[in-house]
């Protein structure tokens, strides 16, 4: 005697599957709706145009923002981190004596003067002698 392992529930489940397939076949296709197609495509076109406009108008603020950022960065880099205050400037003025700086004698200066002639060379020597050894200065001892 053979024992049947057949489950009646399996049959019912298969029956449900078959009924679903039958129903799907019954649904089939609806007649093509031209008005629906036209309305849908109008919405799609509007969406596309809106997207394009958003891109166009969205680009200008982005450019402006980028420009502002560049200018701000340039200012930040060039700006002194610790600006000199008026008080600090005054202190510097007190400490550092301001005096007239005489033109410095240089080889180039003497060569130029020599090229101009003896008179110019003597004038150059005199000018430096006046700065280095003014008439009011004491002569160093033991020099004479």
């Amino acid at each position: 005697m053979s024992i049947s392992t057949h489950n009646p529930e399996d049959n019912e489940a298969a029956g449900i599957s078959e009924a679903l397939r039958r129903d799907a076949r019954r649904i089939g296709e609806a007649p093509f709706d031209m008005a629906l197609q036209r309305e849908t495509m109008a919405r799609v076109r509007a969406l596309k145009d809106a997207g394009r406009a958003r891109f166009r108008f969205g680009f200008a603020p982005a450019l402006a923002a980028a420009s502002v950022a560049v200018v701000a960065a340039a200012l930040f880099i060039s700006f002194p981190f610790k600006p000199v205050t008026h008080r600090e400037a005054a202190l510097v003025a007190e400490v550092v004596p301001l005096r007239e700086v005489a033109p410095r004698a240089s080889v180039w200066f003497y060569e130029r003067a020599l090229a101009e002639g003896d008179a110019a060379f003597s004038a150059a020597l005199d000018r430096d002698a006046q700065t280095l050894l003014p008439a009011t200065a004491k002569l160093p001892e033991g020099l004479l």
Partner: protein
């Protein structure tokens, strides 16, 4: 099972992705009739079905970049249709009250008794079956519709819904089991009539 993606369809999809509205329109022309018929089967109301189909096509345009070709284009569209339908149902999308099914059965019992017909007609059986599918929890309803009404394979359903093939198999099994139990209940109600 409906035909696999053709070369022409692949080209239309590629063009649509690049923003070609004419190509998208052509693509939708191919699927509109079937989508509309399915939407009508879901809601029963032609106006609602039309709105649902339109929302599906617009959502498809918006999300076209997400279509990766791992399932047929119609399966992907169908999954969008299901989501849109769920959105329309709102709170009821999770599960329609089982009372709906019982009311349906009671109404049919009454009609049958009035007409003195011993058995239900094919149309009535179909209406009852759809009511049973509608009474399923949303996650079960989706796999049943994709499997039997969109004729999608398990792997395709998994791809369209973003779940694993194992989950599809399990949901399908539970859904069919629930449908079987509902059918049993309806049969008991019918028997009690006699």
């Amino acid at each position: 099972m409906s035909a696999p993606q053709t070369e022409e369809e692949s080209q239309l999809i590629a063009l649509s992705r690049e923003g070609d509205v004419a190509a998208f329109s052509r693509l939708m022309q191919e699927h509109q009739s079937r989508l509309l018929a399915q939407a009508l089967a879901f809601c029963g109301d032609p106006h609602q079905a039309r709105d649902l189909t339109q929302e599906t096509m617009v959502a498809a345009w918006k999300g076209l970049s997400r279509f990766d070709g791992s399932c047929r284009f119609f399966t992907w569209l169908y999954a969008i249709l299901l989501r849109q339908h769920r959105k329309t149902l709102g709170w009821f999308s999770r599960r329609l009250p089982l009372a709906t099914l019982e009311q349906q059965a009671a109404a049919q019992r009454h009609e049958s008794a009035a007409a003195h017909e011993p058995a239900m007609g094919e149309e009535e059986e179909a209406a009852l079956l759809r009511a049973m599918v509608t009474a399923l929890p949303a996650k079960h309803r989706e796999v049943v519709r994709l499997r039997f009404y969109a004729e999608a394979g398990e792997a395709e359903i998994a791809s369209a819904l973003g779940i694993s093939a194992g989950t599809v198999k399990s949901r399908l099994h539970h859904a069919l089991e629930k449908l079987r139990q509902m059918k049993e209940k309806v049969n008991r109600l019918r028997d009690s009539r006699h």
